[in-house]
Amino acid sequence: MTEMYIPKNKIDDAVQEMMAQHKVFAPVLQGRFHDFAPLSSPEEVDWECRNTRLSPKGLFHRHSERMFDYSLSKDDPEAGILKESPKDFSPRVVLNIRPCDARALQLVDVNFDTPEYRDPWWVKRREATTLVGLACNDPCSTCFCGSVGTGPFDAAGVDVLLVDAGEGYVARACTDKGEGLLAEIASGEPVTAEIREKVEALKKQAETSMADLHLNLDLIAEKDMKELFNEEFWEDVHFSCINCGTCTFLCPTCWCFDIQDEVYEGKGMRLRNWDSCMYPLFTLHASGHNPRDQKLQRVRQRFMHKFKYYLDKYETATPACVGCGRCVQHCPVNIDIREVVRRMAASCVCPA
C-alpha cells in the first residue's frame, strides 16, 4: 500500500489537492469546541484538535434527514404520494477522523447495511466518502479504545491513516479508496526508515499511555443475557441518570432514530431525526403501555445493548463502544461507562 510523508509546511497544499476533487470535512474550532465542518480553505483545519464534541456519525447518519416530500393539496393528483427528497452524494473526504470514530462507523454498518434492507442514505454516503484518519499520539485520560477492541493507531475503519511524526505527517493507504485518494496528492515525499521507526515508537507510546481498564469482555459475552439483565447493581447505577440523552447524541455508535411527518401549508415532508432510548417516549405504545417506563429499565437498556445485545446479536467479539470517552466527559451526572462495564463484567464472576 502507498505511503508518503507530507511535511507540515506542505499539509495545506495536500488538503487543497483533496479539496479539488472532494468536499472535505475536518475538525474546525467552533466557539469553545470542535465539530466536523465542510472546509472552504485548508487553514480552517485544527490539527491540534484532540477530538470533536459531536462524533462524525452525523456526517453519515444526519441528525435530521429529509427522506421524502409530498403534496397535500387537494387539486394535486399526486397528493399523498411520497417522493424521495433529492440528495447530494458527491465524493467527500472526512479528514482527521480519529481511529475510534472510524471504527464506530463500521460497528454501525451492521445496523444500516443488512442483507435484507439497506438504508440508502447511510450506504450511499459511506460509499461516497473516503476516511482519512489521524492516529492519536496522545490519547485523553478518558479514552479507553484499547480496552474495547480498537486502539489509537487502529487502521481498521479508515481508508488512509495519518500519523503526526513531529515535522510532518506519514500517510498510509489502507484500502483501495485510500490508494485512490493518495494518488491525487502531489505534495508527498518518500517515507524514510527513520520516520518509520518514529511512527512505531509513537504507536507504542500511545498504546501504553492509555490506562488499560482490564475489562474482561469475554465474561460479559459468555454470561446469560437474562441473568445479566436481572443483576442487582443496576439499582445503584441508574439513580443519578436524568435520561437527558447527551450520551446517545454524542456517541459514535448510537444510531436510534425517529420518523416524523411535518406539514406546512399544503406541503409536507417525512423526516428522520436522532432519537434516544433514554426518553420514555421511545418505547411508548399507543395503548399507553410502556415496556420501559422506569428509568432503571432505560439506563440498563443502553448498557446492555452496547455490551451484551450487540455482541450476541451480531456474534462479534467487540461491543458497540469504541472507547472515545465522550459520554464519560459529558454526562452531566458523571455516570461512567467504564465503571458500569466493570460492574457488568464483575457480576459474571462466581464467588469462589
Binding site: Q30, G31, T142, F239, F249, N273, N334
Partner: protein, 316 residues
C-alpha cells in the same frame, strides 16, 4: 467545603439508623476531576459513600418530584429553593423531605476550567484556601476559585439554604450588591431585529437533546409539550424556528419558578447559555410581582394567583 463531607456522612448514618428517612440523596466522589455523581444511600453502612466538595453543582431537587418515600437531601441555597417550589406545587410534601442544608460558596465551572487548560487533561485536582490546584501529566496550574465559579454562582444571592432541617456547615455571608441582570439588560437594549439575531445565534448549536429540560428540577411534566402528538405543538428536527419555540416555551413554563440553579447550562453538551432564556423571565417576575421563587412556602407563585395590585398595563 469538603468539611461538609463528614457532617453529611454522620447525618446520613444517624437518620438512616434511626429510620427517620428511607434514603439519603447526596453525591459520591466522581470518576473525573471536577465531577461528582448524585447518589442515593439506603443503609447506614453505605453512608461513607457520600462526599461533598466544590463540584456539586447538580441540583438534587431534580430527584425529588413524585417520590413516595421519605428522603433526606443535601441542598445548597438554590436546591433548597427548588425543594420549596416542589412543595408549593404538590410534587412532594414538606414532611417527606429532611433537608440537610449546605451553605454554598459557589460551584466550579468545569467547562471554563477545562477551556483554560487548552485541551490538556487534568488528572488531580485539589481545592485549598480559595485556590484550585490542577495537575496533569506534564503540567501544573493554580487558579483562583472566585474567578471560575459557575456564572449563576457568581451572581448568587441565596447561598444559604432558605429552608432546612439541619445544617452541614456554617452559614455563609450572602453576596451584596450583586447586579443579577446586567446581561439581561444588554439584550433588552437591542432592537427587535438584533434580539432575534442574538437568540438565533444563541441556540444555533442546539441538538435537541433536552439535557437542559431533564436536568431542570422544574421540568417534571409526565409528557413534555415537545413530546405531544395530538396536537403536535413543536417539530422535532433542528429547524431553527422549532428549536427556538422549545427554548422559549420551556423558559416561560419556568417563569416565576426558576431559581437560577444553573443545572440547565451545566448539562448542555454543546455549551449553550440556556439561562439567557430564563433570566429575563426571572427579572420580569421580580419587577412585575416582587416575587422570587422558592423563598416562602406560604406565598403562592405569581402565575398561580392574583392580587388586586397586579400590573395591568398590557390590557389595552
Amino acid at each position: 467545603m469538603r468539611e461538609y463531607t463528614e457532617k453529611i456522612r454522620e447525618a446520613a448514618r444517624r437518620l438512616l439508623s434511626e429510620k427517620k428517612v428511607d434514603a439519603v440523596i447526596g453525591f459520591r466522589k466522581g470518576t473525573l476531576p471536577f465531577m461528582n455523581e448524585p447518589c442515593i444511600v439506603k443503609h447506614a453502612d453505605q453512608a461513607d459513600r457520600l462526599y461533598w466538595d466544590g463540584n456539586c453543582g447538580v441540583n438534587l431537587a431534580n430527584y425529588l418530584a413524585k417520590r413516595a418515600d421519605r428522603v433526606a437531601v443535601v441542598a445548597k441555597g438554590c436546591d433548597s429553593r427548588n425543594i420549596m417550589v416542589h412543595v408549593l406545587e404538590n410534587q412532594i410534601s414538606r414532611d417527606q423531605v429532611y433537608i440537610l442544608g449546605a451553605p454554598c460558596r459557589g460551584m466550579l465551572d468545569r467547562r471554563r476550567i477545562l477551556a483554560e487548560l487548552g485541551g490538556k487533561d487534568p488528572l488531580r485536582v485539589e481545592e485549598q484556601n480559595g485556590k484550585i490546584h490542577i495537575e496533569g501529566r506534564d503540567f501544573g496550574l493554580t487558579l483562583n476559585r472566585e474567578e471560575y465559579l459557575q456564572e449563576n454562582c457568581a451572581l448568587c444571592t441565596h447561598r444559604n439554604p432558605v429552608e432546612y432541617d439541619e445544617l452541614v456547615g456554617e452559614l455563609v455571608e450572602e453576596q451584596k450588591d450583586v447586579d443579577r441582570y446586567a446581561d439581561v439588560r444588554e439584550v433588552e437594549a437591542l432592537s427587535a431585529d438584533e434580539r432575534k439575531a442574538y437568540f438565533q445565534e444563541l441556540i444555533a448549536p442546539c441538538i435537541r437533546c433536552y439535557a437542559c429540560r431533564n436536568a431542570c428540577p422544574l421540568c417534571y411534566c409526565p409528557t413534555c409539550f415537545v413530546d405531544e402528538s395530538r396536537p403536535q405543538w413543536v417539530g422535532k428536527s433542528l429547524d431553527p424556528v422549532d428549536t427556538m419555540t422549545f427554548h422559549f416555551l420551556r423558559a416561560y413554563h419556568c417563569a416565576g419558578r426558576c431559581t437560577d440553579c444553573g443545572a440547565c447550562e451545566r448539562a448542555c453538551p454543546v455549551g449553550i447559555k440556556v439561562r439567557q432564556f430564563t433570566k429575563k423571565l426571572e427579572k420580569d417576575v421580580l419587577e412585575l410581582y416582587g416575587y422570587e421563587a422558592g423563598l416562602d412556602m406560604n406565598e403562592r407563585p405569581p402565575l398561580d394567583t392574583y392580587r388586586t395590585g397586579d400590573p395591568e398595563d398590557f390590557i389595552k
